[in-house]
Symmetry: C2
Subunit: 500 residues, 2 copies
């Protein structure tokens, strides 16, 4: 009796070795190559043949016994069970059926982070507005108004709820970005906007220019679409020469930028930089995705107009969201673009979810139209300004010398750099976990391996006192890490991460 087990193949799978061996033998039992009553080799012999430990061989036989495919007779050996050829049922080998997943190089980081964030006393990692500031009371008031037509809770156009599209178009037009409702598509958060844009613009191998560092969700989407990324340094002035070199050498399809309160650096692109960028884009027929989640969150002065307002050649796609200003959980963002683009986005979105949830769209429409959004923005700007100032003060007071950073004019983040020679953010992260504070290490924001001495802290989610405590802990962690008292990071937790 010959049990041929192909070890090359067996060792490549994601299942434990004993499962793989059991599956091989099971297949031979099911195909009657090993008929009922056949004696299987002793465990020691099986182990030798397969080049595995005896425990693995024992476990393989145990598994087959569980499945009812073999029986063990004490003192005699292991035999193929009667009637095993047809009746016994092996569980589905799902791992064989699933197509290989695209694994983000930063997904490991993110998992560490989510585990740490849940445990942290002061979380400064995720880029979420403070739940204490959510305008839920205002929304409950809107819900009570009952002016919702029942048909609006049925299926609606894929492009979004008409009145919301109208209201957003009017708002943009008033702010210098002329738009009609037909230029607006509502999407399930800016994340989905990016996902759909990648779907409609990118073939594998296409070049996309991104800032470095930039929003990690965009990196993951472009990379999983098979794009090749070209990077523009994000802190410091816009490198127009480099941009032009890229345009000439690689003929990239898209430029993805966050010109206003960039994530993670907080930087604002100046108006002359915006103009120069658009001139280059127009000359080279470069499509520009302007991601703008933060421009309503300014604390010192209003930011320059968006690229979309300065765009003469119609090459800018403008991506907005309510996630940073209202509720992240409603999953409502929108795209402002020429109709040709909106039409294609809608075609793709139809496959993905038919349309976005219309209760949230109706609520947001009422919130915008009633002036609630503007009142809310005024209130949160005041609050976030205080938090920004509190964090700046704490950093000055506690972290002096250990970190370099710029104080942002708006948005949610400080982008910090460790000054101690040789100290990396990963080492700091481990120590920070012990101190009960979290942040996002810099390498998560780069497509390559840069950023190992940088990190992002969010000042939006916590009040001033917590931020001060968080910075204290961070400084303590940095001091500890400098002493080199660093242990290996914990094992990553299983689940996954909305980190924004």
């Amino acid at each position: 009796m010959d049990i041929s087990i192909d070890l090359t193949t067996a060792s490549a799978g994601p299942e434990p070795m004993y499962e793989q061996i059991a599956a091989r033998i099971a297949a031979q039992i099911k195909s009657q190559a090993l008929p009922p009553g056949s004696k299987l080799p002793p465990e020691r012999q099986l182990a030798e043949r397969c080049g595995v430990s005896r425990t693995t061989a024992i476990n393989a036989y145990r598994r087959l016994e569980e499945l009812g495919l073999v029986r063990t007779r004490v003192g005699s050996g292991t035999y193929v069970a009667e009637g095993s050829g047809e009746a016994a049922v092996l569980p589905m080998p799902w791992h064989q059926l699933l197509v290989p997943a695209w694994q983000s190089p930063v997904s490991g980081i993110i998992r560490d982070l989510v585990a740490m964030d849940a445990a942290a006393g002061v979380s400064m990692a995720t880029g979420m507005p403070d739940p204490g500031l959510y305008p839920w009371a205002a929304f409950q008031g809107l819900l009570g108004q009952g002016s919702l037509a029942m048909k609006d809770l049925g299926h609606i156009a894929t492009e979004g709820y008409g009145p919301l599209r109208e209201a957003l178009a009017a708002r943009h037009t008033a702010a210098g970005v002329p738009a009609k409702a037909e230029n607006v598509a509502v999407v399930a958060g800016a994340q989905q906007g990016l996902y759909l844009l990648a779907k409609v613009f990118l073939n594998p191998g296409d070049y996309v220019i991104v800032e470095a560092p930039t929003y990690m969700g965009a990196l993951q989407i472009f990379q999983s679409a098979g794009a090749r990324l070209l990077t523009l340094p994000a802190p410091g002035p816009l490198q127009l020469d480099l941009l032009e070199d890229y345009l000439i050498r690689y003929r990239p399809k898209l430029l993805y930028v966050l010109p206003t309160y960039q994530n993670p650096t907080g930087r604002v692109m100046t108006q002359p930089e915006r103009q120069a960028l658009l001139t280059l884009a127009a000359r080279h027929r470069l499509a520009v995705i302007e991601d703008d989640p933060y421009s309503d969150l300014f604390y010192d002065r209003e930011p320059p107009p968006p690229l979309k307002a300065l765009d003469q050649h119609g090459g800018v796609i403008y991506l907005r969201t309510f996630s940073k200003t209202v509720f992240p959980g409603l999953r409502v963002g929108w795209v402002v673009a020429p109709e040709a683009v909106i039409h294609r986005l809608a075609l793709e979105k139809q496959y993905v979810d038919l349309h976005s949830n219309n209760l949230a769209q109706w609520l947001l429409y009422k919130f915008v139209a009633s002036g609630g959004l503007d009142r809310h923005l005024t209130a949160v700007r005041r609050e976030y300004r205080q938090r920004r100032d509190a964090m700046a003060q704490a950093l000055r007071r506690f972290a002096g010398g250990r970190l370099s950073y710029a104080v942002p004019d708006g948005g949610f983040y400080f982008w910090c750099r460790l000054t101690a020679p040789g100290l990396t953010t990963r080492a700091l992260l481990t120590e920070a976990g012990r101190q009960g504070v979290s942040f996002v290490p810099g390498d998560a924001f780069y497509p390559g391996t840069e950023g190992e001495r940088e990190f992002r802290v969010c000042f939006a989610t916590n009040g001033a006192a917590e931020l001060q405590e968080g910075v204290k802990r961070l400084t303590r962690a940095a001091a500890q890490a400098e002493k080199g008292s660093v242990q290996a990071p914990r094992a990553p937790a299983a689940p996954l991460p909305p980190i924004i």
Copy 2:
């Protein structure tokens, strides 16, 4: 001066010919191949060279003039404008940048239909619950309870809102489908569930078995994923021999079925058929997607247990939705599957939208947990049973002899077949539009060109009186169509379609 216009390429694009010609000339002006001041050929000559009409040539020059690239001197001709090489800005050629869209063979049908549905006095096309039955008052009551934690309006796990996953798992377990919360992923409607399943299981060229006819959204998703479809005839008994032939010959990856109140035929797979199907699936390691939007909508007797309840080898993925029972617009469906599958779905969903809207998830959780869903189901079953009976009566009374159909035990649809020799549903559709009634022609539910004498009518959206009127109009349309008084269908409207 030589204006070389490659007509082969030009005629392939989606833009009008005059735009394409203008773009070619514009490119030569921009590249200075046609320097400022050059005289362009007279319109007649351009038309001849390009093999187009003179109007097209005139329009091409007009377009260039609009763009500031040429000037026309009366009585003299058309000249390249001064300074046109650098300064003038051409609008973005979006159609060149977008990757080719997958065009569903039925998208033309669907567009006709949406236009017609909007105009129809009695719409029996879309598979939507009646908005008059939406439990909005109950939802407003839930909203007033205010037991919503603010953090639950922030970001949540991609797999869904924990309490809703728990509640759904408990509900399934009680109904004979043992499940833990970890086996449940909330998705943005069953549509998104299918989209994600296609993403994680299908490589281009994979075989998928579907019923024919079947849910058209599934056909579109599988085909756009590059799958090759094998069909099992849906009305009549399950053809197990054919299924086994497919399994042996093609080794398909997935079987997609609607065993209960199938869309569009209304058929219920018997329990012995379900058992036999699962035995074959287990033997051949076939993954089964059981789409089950309608099983709660039974009108005569409870349907047999779902495949998922009978599944011994763990090979069934169970897809459910609130769209047919509560509100379509909330976009909440769910997948019940082994953890390995849930985990991969969540990884993909993270790219698509991070997670589904959590206000809707919280509301549905409260609705399920408070017993509201069960009360609602009892009420809508009673109402829809009456409508089913009203439609059956009207068909007996008015359509006798013109249509053959079976009265369904549950779900939303009658599947009808024209009996008059030579009469097609497309001919009927045109006439029905004139009579102010709509339905979905049968070919929309087939991957091939079958179904041309079949169609689906939905009895859920309208009350008994409207249904009677609808059937009257339909019969009148059939009589007219039989007389051959049929004109060409209207031009398709631009936008697109949630048809379910």
